[in-house]
């Protein structure tokens, strides 16, 4: 479904991503791991169009998307959540998700119909599936951090993506919240038949969700393979797993 081939991105002299390769098959759950500064978030920014790659190819469903702006890439079926909470703080929880649903239904430019009657069912069903329905009237900026991270995912679901990219979905959560979030991600993947690409620091989470793992270091892909293959790879043990 998604192929990243030899992608390079530099900021001035710093090579943030220096030859990343990644394959994500339909329905797969793929994790990207690597030490801090390995280029995971930059890679996600390149895939979603927030940054433009210097060289290499990013192919989604057989189409080269590396030159498209973010809103076009979203329409192709890729959405993401962010490591640092990135929501609409002054809108209600409902409004946050509705913006994405309206955009997906191509109804955002409707000028004279009251928005509160549009796409209500779809928005509520997303809120229900992530467990935020009881807080739908609250102002998003006043939610707890854990709930905001869940809202992150809910917004990304509003576009009914085929590929959902989660950038450290549990960062900053308490252990209980983390557990609930993992259950949620597993359930969503099953219910909606989502393909998921995520990165995460916590190895327990990675090994409990992912079917395939890609390891990055210094912007380069060391290996992508099954859990077993990655565990037994010498270079990975040296670079990452052994170090902890």
């Amino acid at each position: 479904m998604l192929q990243v081939e030899g992608v390079i991105k530099s900021f001035d002299d710093f090579m943030a991503v220096d030859g990343a390769n990644l394959t994500v098959g339909k329905g797969e759950i793929v994790a990207v791991i690597g030490p801090n500064g390995a280029g995971k978030t930059t890679l996600f920014n390149l895939i979603t169009g927030a940054l433009k790659r210097d060289r290499g190819r990013i192919v989604f469903k057989g189409e080269d998307i590396s030159e498209l702006p973010p809103y076009e890439i979203c329409k192709k079926g890729i959405t993401r959540s962010y490591q640092i909470v990135n929501i609409f703080p002054r809108l209600t929880v409902f409004g946050n998700v509705q913006v994405a649903v309206l955009s997906h239904q191509r109804r955002s430019s409707n000028l004279f119909q009251p928005a509160q009657n549009i796409a209500v069912k779809e928005t509520r069903s997303i809120l229900e599936s992530v467990g935020l329905l009881d807080k739908e009237k609250g102002i998003a900026g006043s939610l707890s951090h854990g709930d905001q991270k869940i809202l992150e995912i809910a917004i990304a679901l509003g576009n009914e993506p085929e590929l959902l990219i989660l950038d450290e979905p549990t960062a900053g959560m308490s252990p209980e919240e983390t557990q609930a979030a993992i259950e949620l991600i597993k359930r969503l993947a099953q219910m909606r038949g989502l393909t998921i690409l995520f990165c995460e620091h916590d190895m327990d989470i990675v090994f409990s969700i992912a079917q395939s793992i890609m390891v990055m270091r210094h912007g380069q892909t060391i290996i992508q393979g099954s859990l077993k293959e990655v565990r037994s790879n010498k270079e990975v043990q040296e670079a990452y797993l052994g170090g902890e």
């Binding site: 979603t48 169009g49 927030a50 702006p69 973010p70 809103y71 979203c74 329409k75 959405t79 993401r80 962010y82 990135n86 929501i87 609409f88 703080p89 002054r90 809108l91 409004g95 946050n96 509705q98 913006v99 994405a100 309206l102 955009s103 997906h104 109804r107 955002s108 430019s109 409707n110 000028l111 004279f112 119909q113 009251p114 928005a115 509160q116 009657n117 549009i118 609250g138 102002i139 900026g141 006043s142 917004i155 990304a156 509003g158 576009n159």
Partner: protein, 319 residues
């Protein structure tokens, strides 16, 4: 959306205020009727700016230009052509919106302060043309004694005309703000990066917002002509644009009706304090400083915050 509103207490209050405003000219002195009409015109102007500043998050620094363009368009139509007068009233806002489209097309390519700076430059260009082109616009003399249709030729009838158009525009603005377009615009204000990531072409929506806002600014310009029967180049000068911006800040730019309050405060200060001293802006400045320090959400925003606890928290976290 209106079903709930008609049954709410808010509707009774708003309707009551408008009824009082409607019967006021029957016994109020002419001077006060004139000041009220001026407040309506200024309110509409401030509300139109707030659509892009407060709800759209754009640094629309030179909004006065579109007010002036609307006013000049109708003034020139009424004095230089023999077309039916009402045509001019429609042409004014349309010309303002087209000007908004052209200037906005360049500006949305930039963000934040750069957006504002480019707009000031392009707007000042239009001001310079109006200010200098004596044979067409009357230059710094402006245009005076613009003929009005007999239906709105007296002060009281133009007061009613302005009030009715204001109410219609407020309803339209409220609908737009509550529409999918309005919530998308507010989402862009909150987080344009995230909007791009959910498939929204941010620049296109910002441009759309500018066109709508400049259209209403043009309506305000037309109403100004209906009240004053004159136009001046000062309407396009950046000082007025700054004043409208202050009205939005003062009243509360994240609220719907805040700018009306801001406009009323500013016009009242200019009229009643300006009578005694030309330094009335000193008081405005002090008020603004106090508002920024103690009521960062504006006067209206503060009172709304008392009823919506969540918002206050957001504002405080944002500081």
């Amino acid at each position: 959306m209106f079903k709930n509103f008609f049954h709410s207490k808010g509707f009774g209050l708003v309707a009551g205020i408008f009824i009082i405003l409607f019967i006021l000219p029957l016994f109020a002195p002419r001077f006060y009727v004139y000041i009220l009409a001026l407040i309506y015109v200024t309110s509409l102007l401030a509300m139109s700016l707030n659509m892009v500043v407060g709800h759209g998050g754009l640094f629309q620094f030179h909004h006065g230009v579109f007010y002036g363009v609307g006013a000049y368009a109708v003034a020139l139509m009424l004095t230089k052509t023999s077309l039916p007068m009402w045509v001019g009233f429609i042409v004014g806002p349309v010309v303002a919106a087209i000007t908004g489209l052209i200037i906005g097309w360049f500006c949305v390519r930039l963000t934040r302060l750069y957006f504002g700076m480019l707009q000031i430059s392009l707007g000042s260009l239009i001001w310079a043309i109006v200010f200098r082109w004596y044979s067409f616009t009357g230059g710094d003399d402006g245009i005076h004694g613009i003929p009005m249709p007999s239906l709105i030729s007296s002060l009281n009838s133009s007061y009613y005309f302005i009030l009715i158009i204001l109410v219609v525009c407020l309803i339209l603005m409220y609908m737009i703000l509550k529409s999918p377009f309005g919530s998308t615009l507010q989402a862009i204000r909150d987080n344009s990066q995230r909007c791009e990531a959910v498939g929204i072409n941010v620049r296109r929506y910002q441009l759309g917002g500018i066109v709508v806002a400049t259209f209403f600014a043009g309506v305000a310009g037309v109403l100004f002509v209906a009240l004053e029967r004159s136009v001046f180049a000062e309407m396009l000068f950046w000082v007025l644009s700054l004043e409208i911006f202050i009205m939005c800040l003062l009243g509360g730019w994240f609220t719907f009706a805040g700018p009306i309050l801001g406009a009323a405060i500013t016009v009242a200060l200019r009229t009643f304090v300006g009578k005694y001293t030309e330094y009335w802006t000193l008081i405005l400045g002090i008020m603004l400083i106090l508002v920024i320090f103690f009521l960062p959400e504006g006067v209206m925003g503060f009172f709304q915050g008392l009823f919506k606890p969540g918002m206050k928290e957001v504002a405080e976290r944002g500081k």
